[in-house]
């Protein structure tokens, strides 16, 4: 029951062929496809890693990645690749009810469908919000952002 063991077991389901989507991080990380998320969480829970600190949405190039930050004495991050075409991921609330607010936030801010939770009412954005997902970067916006940076 420890994070080393969980990390070792998670390696078996990691998406090794997508290694270009990894980024240097100060704690253990495992890159997986969104279809493997529930399997990965089951492995973590079996090994006693039950504290989900938060879920972060981040762009790696133009691919949206969701980072599930787990913690048990040290950090372990699941890097979940979101497929651009179906743009959805399963909820963890059946295993970790505490994930609900993080998932609702990410669904609103990044416009992702989280299968299994009710997102019909807004949680953070105004009820009459019309401008889509504020944190989502469309391709044009990514290009524009790069041009604005301090060189």
């Amino acid at each position: 029951m420890n994070i080393e063991q969980a990390y070792y077991r998670l390696q078996k389901i990691s998406a090794k062929d997508q290694a270009q989507l990894l980024s240097q991080l100060n704690e253990k990380q495992v890159l997986i496809l969104s279809s493997q998320l529930l399997n990965a969480v089951k492995i973590l829970l079996e090994e006693g890693v039950n504290h989900l600190s938060t879920i972060t949405g981040v762009y790696q190039g133009e691919t949206l990645i969701m980072l599930y930050h787990f913690w048990l004495g040290e950090g372990l991050t699941l890097r979940v690749i979101i497929d651009e075409n179906n743009n959805e991921v399963d909820t963890l609330t059946q295993f970790i009810p505490g994930a609900l607010f993080y998932e609702r936030e990410i669904a609103e801010m990044f416009g992702i469908t989280i299968n299994g939770i009710d997102t019909s009412n807004k949680m953070f954005l105004p009820d009459n919000w019309q401008n889509g997902a504020p944190m989502r970067k469309e391709k044009a916006e990514i290009a524009e952002d790069n041009s604005l940076e301090d060189k």
Binding site: S23, Q24, N26, S53, Y59, Y102
Partner: protein, 360 residues
């Protein structure tokens, strides 16, 4: 019996910050509750992407109006981690000192709010009166009572003088005695017990399932304290206990927080006794190397986590903030279920909500 739905908030005398509850009652018992956030959502995470690393310190100081220092500390730790900077020990000690003073201030503020919500106005007055001592100390050190603006990437901006150290050493024992009196009231007062014992119970299993952190988790017997479990700054050099109880109700949360306040007073005393001489800050580069960093700290309400992603420029590519209040909020529907309407205010105050934190 017919059901009735009562809205509490977004503007309500019970709440200090805007948050919306919809509480469904059957008779006097709560059968369901839902909540909605976002009334003070300021888009800080998005805004942070447009500002330089150094300007973002000012921004993150304003995530929370109570525990502002821990936010900048955690953010600076993340950026320093990306820069591979080691801050001078004196700087780290000054940071820790303010973290602990802030914990004292936050817990006393909370005790006042809880006492007011359950109708004990005397305790409210006492707690806030005693809180002035620590606010004055923080003003003496940093110039600000709540927003300190003392952190910078690479250390702190203001040194601690000998006069300040003497004042801190003189005032802390006074505060210790006053907090001891408050602990006595909370532990022994009949009215306080009657209103808080057995209310808002969370089992250790619930705490783990909902990923709750901080004093709420410790009051249910789940011993997590990042100052000990993932020590940053120089916490490993100091001697302190993490307070836990097993009752899991609002009363236990009050006792845990006040005993933690006493621990923090002891910690602050140790810090000023042990503070090493030397520099307070090192110079940091403006451009931060590419990479990602997860930084965790123990805020007054529990684990706060910052994720910073850099692409090698002067501005962060992404900053994610998760504040401890969000973990406490999610347990509220479970805590409220089956309670009497009159106890709702106790439970809402009992988890120590900071809505500005939760919304960001």
């Amino acid at each position: 019996m017919s059901k009735i739905t009562i809205p509490i908030g977004p503007q309500h005398p019970l709440l200090k910050e805007p948050l919306s509850f919809r509480i469904t009652l059957e008779g006097e018992s709560v059968i369901e509750s839902t909540l909605r956030l976002g009334y003070v959502h300021r888009g800080i995470e998005k805004l942070a992407q447009t500002r330089t690393y150094i300007k973002n310190i000012t921004l993150f100081e304003r995530v929370c109006g109570i525990c502002s220092h821990i936010h900048t500390t955690t953010y600076c730790q993340a950026v320093e981690g990306l820069l591979d900077l080691k801050i001078p020990r004196r700087g780290a000690y000054i940071r820790m000192l303010l973290c602990e003073l802030e914990r004292i201030h936050s817990h006393l503020l909370w005790l006042g709010v809880l006492a007011k919500n359950i109708g004990l106005n005397t305790v409210f007055m006492y707690a806030w009166r005693d809180r002035e001592i620590v606010l004055d100390l923080m003003e003496e050190i940093s110039g600000g009572r709540v927003s300190h603006a003392i952190n910078t990437i690479g250390g702190v901006r203001k040194d601690l003088t000998q006069t300040q150290i003497e004042k801190i050493s003189l005032d802390l024992p006074v505060l210790y005695e006053k907090v001891r009196e408050l602990l006595e009231i909370v532990e022994n007062d009949r009215s306080f017990s009657a209103r808080t014992r057995g209310i808002g119970y969370l089992s250790p299993q619930d705490v783990k399932r909902y990923c709750v952190v901080g004093p709420v988790a410790r009051a249910s017997g789940v011993d997590i304290d990042l100052r000990r479990d993932a020590p940053n700054a120089c916490y490993a050099e100091l001697d302190f206990n993490s307070v836990t109880m097993t009752d899991g109700d609002v009363w236990a949360r009050a006792v845990v927080r006040i005993m933690e306040t006493l621990e923090s007073i002891g910690l602050s005393q140790q810090i000023v006794n042990k503070i090493p001489a030397g520099e307070i800050a090192v110079t940091a580069k403006r451009k931060v190397p590419e990479g990602e960093f997860v930084s965790r700290s123990e805020a007054p309400r529990g684990e706060v986590i910052y994720f910073v992603k850099s692409d090698g420029s002067q501005k962060p590519k992404r900053v994610k903030v998760r504040t401890p209040t969000l973990t406490a909020l999610i347990t509220l529907p479970a805590q409220l279920e089956g309670l009497q309407m009159a106890d709702v205010s106790t439970v809402i105050a009992g988890v120590d909500l900071c809505i500005a934190c939760a919304d960001r």
